[in-house]
Symmetry: C2
Subunit: 201 residues, 2 copies
Amino acid sequence: MSEPIEYYFDFLSPYGYLGGLGIEEIAARHNRAVDWRVMLLGISVIKVMGLKPLPETPLKGPYLREDVPRFFRLLGVPYNPPGGGQMAPLPAARSFTWLKGRDPDLAKRFAQAVGRAHWCEGRDMSTPAAVAEIGATLDIDPAELTAAIETDDVKDALKRHVQHSIDKGVFGAPTFILDGELFWGADRLYQVDRWLETGGW
Amino acid sequence: MSEPIEYYFDFLSPYGYLGGLGIEEIAARHNRAVDWRVMLLGISVIKVMGLKPLPETPLKGPYLREDVPRFFRLLGVPYNPPGGGQMAPLPAARSFTWLKGRDPDLAKRFAQAVGRAHWCEGRDMSTPAAVAEIGATLDIDPAELTAAIETDDVKDALKRHVQHSIDKGVFGAPTFILDGELFWGADRLYQVDRWLETGGW
């Protein structure tokens, strides 16, 4: 098996969630592992690129409100986020960071469960209590999780992860890196698949 | 045959050029016509959305410099733009606008030839003289073209086209509208194809 495919996501991005579903399916077919890596669009898009949040961007905001549900429908994934679909990603991102340092596979399953709860089941994942509840279904102690994500160690580790994503040139979610090639967008999964199938072009 | 598919493009966008190649191929298979509609990213992205030009956007600029040639290679389209690939689109956009008012099919063939010259053949299409030379190969009188694009009639018509694109919610190039659905991006052609095949989802 070659190097794992790097999959960068932000919990607040519905496209990122779809990307996580798609890349696992594609990677399994090509006998590749997936390394889940958290990033924060609030840093890459807002601070580094100097752009506005997508939902507040004229023309693009209204487009997203049509395109996101249509993309979920195309893939047969239930689309049922709480409220307007917004999410405060820090509790989930810090929890993921803490878990990844202990058990990367558990961290992935946690991220998948948080994404499903938020985007498919209408459960707002913006708070420590909400993500701790998801953690509990994976035998993660809720008190331990909520304490861990308040530590400077975990906060600093997340900052390093985010800086790493920017150093790699990642700006949007999802982004996939394989064989040194960076692909941005859930709509590029077909190119990732083609790359793995052909060895590149 | 149903309503034509609307295809919005800006001459300065290499993704837009690829979108024009792809949508013609897909539309032909589904027995649909394509209505070529010019827009200006300088108005939609810069003025209305308040964003920076993509090539100057941190992180995204470097990504584009890798992704655009890779996308051309994937489709087997030669990628050989002049200089850094930048283009001043007004002469071509005004010429297209003038031609479309007289003969939409000729206007489309003109746009295809200008795009090929710029993106595939390394010929800078930023000047009236350059686009007039392309026009001449389609039996369009160069003197008539260069005079026409200086008239207020043609300039105003282009402004109306651009405003129309914004009124329709179009912000990026290429954008496809079919059956009232808006799809943004050359990487969404597979969804356009699927929509035509299935009648939507």
